[in-house]
């Protein structure tokens, strides 16, 4: 085989996410501390909404009790149906459209939000059956939803999002703040 790079036999190879997606972040959704989301943007403009590693659900050994895609009386994200190449019929989402509500065994409740404008293509039904996926693999198998931004907006949606560096510095500041004496 040509071009075989010497890959470390350790787990350092760039993952699928590293190779094809750009990570964007939204921190403290709706003013709630640390409820951070990570948006994986593919080079073809499709976005995958996931929990950032700092999200409370992923901390303190929490266990998920239930995940509910019924966000209101008239709307369940599970009813989302798209058809054809142009994905007609998908629910249109704005930045703060709720995707689902997650309840943990310690009675804490969290709402996961869209973070970007676009058409909802699918929500992850695997996590309904296996909520653990969300805890173990939040960036891949535990994704929340797939959204297709409008073609004209595919570049502009990132204007309201934080880059990885910006997000990391916000996280770093939090740790500093926490360690300050009150």
């Amino acid at each position: 085989m040509d071009c075989v790079e010497q890959k470390d036999t350790e787990a350092n190879a760039p993952s699928v996410v590293d190779r094809y997606y750009t990570r964007w972040y939204r921190a403290d959704l709706k003013g709630k501390t640390c409820e951070d989301h990570c948006i994986l943007q593919h080079s073809n403009r499709i976005c995958v909404i996931t929990l950032a590693h700092t999200h409370p659900i992923l901390q303190d050994g929490r266990i998920i009790k239930s995940i509910n895609y019924q966000i209101s009386n008239g709307c369940s994200r599970l009813n989302n149906k798209v058809s054809g190449k142009s994905k007609r019929g998908g629910q249109f989402l704005t930045d703060f459209a709720p995707l689902c509500r997650i309840t943990c065994t310690d009675e804490t409740e969290y709402t996961i939000y869209s973070c970007i404008r676009g058409r909802l293509l699918e929500v992850n039904e695997n996590i309904l059956e296996t909520p653990n996926l969300l805890l173990e693999k939040p960036s891949t198998e535990g994704y929340i939803a797939v959204i297709l931004p409008k073609f004209e907006e595919s570049k502009s949606i990132t204007e309201n999002l934080l880059s990885r560096e910006e997000f990391e510095s916000i996280v770093a500041k939090r740790t500093v703040d926490q360690s300050q004496p009150t």
């Binding site: 075989v4 036999t9 993952s15 699928v16 593919h42 073809n44 699918e122 695997n126 297709l148």
Partner: protein, 472 residues
């Protein structure tokens, strides 16, 4: 001697007085003897005038009179005729008068200068749409003028296009040294024709004069164009480079990657066949970073307007060599000329046939030889593959069931091994390996209970037995 009957006399008279040329008169009389149209127009006109001026008599004496040569009254008629023939025809606008003689045939034979190679020829004629209108105008007028019993039936009418071809085809063929002319249907002015079919005579007369108005000038011939039928070239290609797309990769007018498989193959082919352009298609596609090994992937190219259409076996071999020498990124084999129908054989392969691959797999957790041997025993594994995220922007969201018929493994080290696969057409290999966010199930991560990723992929074979192989 014109094949006209007594009943045609009034029609001929009316048509001539309306301003029709001799050949159009023949058309309206449904004369289908091609030879009659090839006579010099003046002669035909003479015969027509002679025909109408003779009282109904026994055929033999009529014949004798005509063959005897022009008499005094004939001479006077001849002078009148000359005036009439120089008028531009109200129906064909001169197309069946001056525009279908040897001079025009010479013009058409510009094909000689372009050095096309061909055995047969189709003469395609495009006429102004208004000719249909004029035709109907005269028909309607004839209908009105003549008693019902000898009404001109439109179905029998010889079309201007037909008459033109009867005259020109012979002249052109002769000029080109006896090339066979093939008759075939060509484009009609559908909208006009269809409209005229539906319109009632009375309504037509409201909108258009009958007989048609006398034109002040004849048609002006536009240019003559030549277009050769497409030639189809097929073969199989190998791709040895991991940074070559199959088709040009252009975004917003900017080329994202240098060259492409189709451009590398097309360049020498277009040159050999002196063709203006091409349409490339193949039995499936591979990604930019995937090599195509083994016998290669079947492809076919439609060459548009080739100025050369026949290459010998030796010349095709030479062309194949030229392509192979031009770049080390690709290679072609079994290069040959095929028919248009053969294209469907190739597309068959895209949906129905199996493909074989080799992938270089990376595992997160360290593995040992024994850990992967069970994979060799897995047969006909059915996958449910949701449309991969990487193509979801241009394909519909769906779940596709695909079968991996068999696999084999070759251990490399504690985090790498080679995986060979034989799969159904349309299986997404990369997604089977890394799982695509769990959207392809089952996947290799699940089977090995570890994160896995694909570092390299090669197509080993595309199991389509077309095109026929050409021994080296």
């Amino acid at each position: 001697m014109l094949p006209l009957k007594e009943k045609d006399k009034p029609i001929v008279q009316k048509l001539l007085s309306a301003g029709c040329c001799a050949r159009c008169v023949l058309r309206f009389c449904c004369v289908s003897v091609q030879a009659a149209y090839r006579k010099p127009p003046q002669d035909t006109l003479n015969e027509l005038q002679a025909f109408i001026s003779k009282p109904p008599e026994d055929p033999p004496s009529k014949r004798a009179k005509l063959e005897a040569g022009p008499s005094e009254e004939d001479a006077a008629a001849a002078v009148k005729l000359k005036d009439e023939e120089s008028r531009v025809c109200v129906v064909c606008l001169g197309i069946l008068q001056d525009l279908c003689g040897p001079a025009q045939a010479l013009k058409v034979c510009t094909v000689k200068a372009e050095k096309y190679e061909f055995d047969t020829l189709v003469l395609s004629v495009s006429l102004p749409a208004q000719l249909c209108v004029r035709e109907v105008s005269v028909s309607v007028w004839c209908h009105k003028q003549t008693p019902k019993s000898i009404a001109v039936d439109r179905d029998d009418l010889i079309q201007v296009k037909e008459a033109f071809k009867w005259i020109m085809q012979g002249l052109v063929a002769k000029e080109l040294g006896g090339v066979a002319v093939v008759t075939r249907s060509v484009f009609t002015r559908m909208a006009v024709v269809k409209a005229l079919e539906k319109i009632a005579d009375a309504k037509f007369l409201k909108h258009y004069p009958s007989p048609p108005a006398q034109p002040t000038s004849s048609c002006i011939p536009q240019d003559v164009q030549c277009l050769h039928m497409s030639v189809f070239v097929a073969g199989r290609y190998n791709k040895f480079c991991r940074s070559l797309p199959q088709t040009p990769w252009v975004i917003d007018g900017e080329r994202r990657m240098e060259s492409s498989v189709e451009e590398l193959i097309a360049a020498p082919v277009l040159s050999s066949f002196r063709s203006d352009g091409f349409n490339f298609s193949s039995s499936g596609r591979e990604d930019v970073d995937v090599r195509t090994l083994g016998n290669g992937r079947p492809f076919a190219m439609e060459l548009l307007n080739p100025h050369r259409s026949r290459l010998s076996r030796a010349e095709m071999k030479q062309l194949q060599e030229t392509i192979n020498k031009s770049s080390d990124k690709i290679r072609v084999r079994d290069l040959q000329i095929v028919t248009r129908e053969a294209m469907s054989r190739m597309k068959e392969g895209e949906e129905e046939k199996t493909k074989s691959y080799t992938a270089l797999i990376w595992t997160l957790k360290p593995i040992q030889r024994e850990d992967i041997t069970f994979i060799d025993d897995i047969k006909d594994l059915t996958l449910d593959q949701k449309t991969p995220l990487r193509v979801l922007h241009r394909r519909a969201l769906a779940v596709r069931q695909r079968v991996i018929h068999s696999m084999n493994t070759r251990f490399l080290d504690s985090h790498h091994f080679y995986l060979g696969l034989k799969t159904q057409a349309g299986t997404y290999i990369k997604e089977f390996v890394h799982g695509d966010f769990g959207r392809t199930k089952p996947n290799l991560c699940e089977l090995l209970r570890t994160d896995t990723d694909i570092l390299e992929l090669d197509v080993e074979s595309v199991d389509v037995d077309w095109p026929p192989s050409i021994p080296e």
